[in-house]
Amino acid sequence: MRILAFHLMPYADIDPSFTDTYDAAWVVLPNTYFDRDKGHRLYNRFLDELEYADRLGFDGVCVNEHHQNAYGMMPSPGIMAGALSRRTNGWLAVLGRALPLLNNPLTVAEEYAMLDVITGGRLIAGFVRGIGSEYHSSGVNPTESHDRFHEAHDLILRAWTEPGPFHFAGKYYDFKYVNTWPRPYQQPHPPVFIPSQGSSETIRWAADASRRYTYLQTFSPIAAVAKYMQMYKDVAREQGYEATPDQLGWSVPVYVAETDAQALEEARPHAELFVNKLLKKPVEMLLPPGYLTLQSMQGVMAAKAGMHHDRTLEDLIASGSFIVGSPTTVREQLRDAQARIGFGNLLLTIQFGSLPHDLTMKNIELLAKHVVPVLREPAPATAGSAA
């Protein structure tokens, strides 16, 4: 199993009273809440944390993209990946660039190829549609989200795999000369991850026999993780092949301390801030028109989903959305989940909400010492082995 350390890089110093005035940490939360000196310290602290995880034996590190919010401060994840590329030795995963939000998806083909060449083939390339609130923040029409994603993906894959220059003539993107330099280091292209919170359309598309991309279930109850990974396996079978563990991944926040009780106590305020303040948003902000298919939206309306109440850490642990406890507890829970669900990629979110530096570093140490080595077996492919 491949185990990566994942960081959202939140604005961890946020004044939590912002919810008294604003509906969400996204779109409408004024950026006057951002303090430059705190931001400076946070960015450098978070990079230190990922570098530490890589050094202590995680199989690599992972960053992602979010815009105009306090939940994750990486509007340009390539900058963080670039900073990490020369200070880490394992996989470098960008999960991922939000393709429909970009006017020119060729910049992703270029940026990812640069990272892959700099690292000698350690890049994992993630593609996402961005989350709903980012369509409010970017102005991109959410009713074009699915079509733009597919077309941008096709453009990037062709740019990586077909000799240039060639003419790409799509509905949304038309380039007379596609001829990206550099070409990727890994051939035919870096591994592709498709993170999602569970969408049958996305799973069907990722599992298609022509793609076989790794599907990554992000922050979800364990029941949803199991359900969607089974869906992927079923689609693979329909397509005439068996999905390998490498095609399945789970991204989950994890906190380890010396004992179960201590872990709960230390994680609680930070996990609850993450879920109840940084993540939460009104349904209109989360799901703009067209972001989900009509059928999925009807399901959401029927279930009144997206309008959840505040959750306690105990709720989050009970649903398997967070894994918190002693090294033994966390190791056993993750090992059981792996045995039951059969994923071959595990992305551990080692910092969440306002979790401070000292506790994050302790979390990384305990995971690296007591959890990662045990879970890793059988040994994963080594980053850069494509070389």
Binding site: G139, L294, M301
Partner: protein
């Protein structure tokens, strides 16, 4: 009826010169009292736009221009001449785009709180970030109308599907740029039929400050501003709107 490959549904009642009414962000499910008033003197035709209500969503449905061309085809397909074209909000935007392209089958144009222009300083309400209730409340000056509409909010699966399709179609044409076409202002001078621009003085969705810009850009256009009225004058102040339309269309033939 199939027009331009789209199965389009419409209501039609009354007799007299044809009056084509283009609805706003919400389709019109059933005949209303104010439509009945118009039908006393006109052959009133009320389609669901392609993508909205009970009409199909055609493959070509990408932007407001597609709807303008569609309605030129629709008018021709019904064999209408001397049409009094009335559009509300997004429907007013479509009507304006249509009239910029071709007025040969139009007798008059009436725009009721139309979208379509950007007016510096007149910030529009964000209908996509607001909750359904907040949208209804913003649409009316007299909140009793909002209360009545909220009491009839969609609950059946069919009504919810229509609500979601209308919302999708509205975003399709109006998300970006938000509720306007940067190229429309350049060509409104082409409109050569008598034009009336009706606005509620207290419109909280599209500010009444936009009215003067339409009147400035459309040659000979007249303004009627209705006091104590929000974004849906035909519901909130139907008598004034009907009178204004009757006055505008009376005696005007193609």
């Amino acid at each position: 009826m199939i027009v331009a490959g789209c199965d389009v549904r419409y209501l039609r009642r009354g007799s007299g010169p044809p009056l084509l009414y283009l609805h706003g962000a919400s389709s019109i499910a059933a005949w209303t009292p104010w439509l009945e008033e118009l039908a006393a003197t006109h052959d009133v035709i009320v389609p669901d736009h392609p993508g909205w209500g009970r009409s199909a969503t055609p493959d070509w449905f990408d932007n407001i221009h597609d709807l303008a061309y569609f309605y030129l085809d629709f008018i021709a397909a019904l064999g209408l001449e001397g049409v009094h074209l009335v559009g509300h909000s997004i429907g007013g935007w479509i009507a304006g785009e249509l009239a910029v392209r071709n007025t040969s089958r139009l007798a008059t144009l009436t725009l009721v709180a139309p979208a379509g222009l950007r007016v510096i300083g007149a910030e529009t309400f964000d209908i996509f970030l607001a909750s359904p209730e907040a949208n209804v409340r913003a649409a009316f000056h007299d909140q009793r109308f909002a209360d009545a509409q909220l009491a009839a909010a969609p609950t059946t699966p069919d009504a919810i599907e229509t609500f979601l399709r209308n919302r999708f179609a509205t975003a399709r044409v109006a998300w970006q740029p938000r509720l306007y076409d940067p190229h429309l202002a350049k060509w409104l001078h082409r409109i050569d039929v008598p034009t009336l621009v009706v606005w509620g003085a207290n419109d909280a969705i599209l500010p009444v400050a936009m009215q003067a810009e339409f009147v400035r850009l459309i040659p000979g256009a007249r303004a009627v501003t209705i006091d104590a009225c929000g974004h849906v004058p035909q519901v909130e102040r139907p008598a004034e709107v009907i009178a204004a339309i009757a006055d505008h269309t009376h005696g005007v033939a193609a």
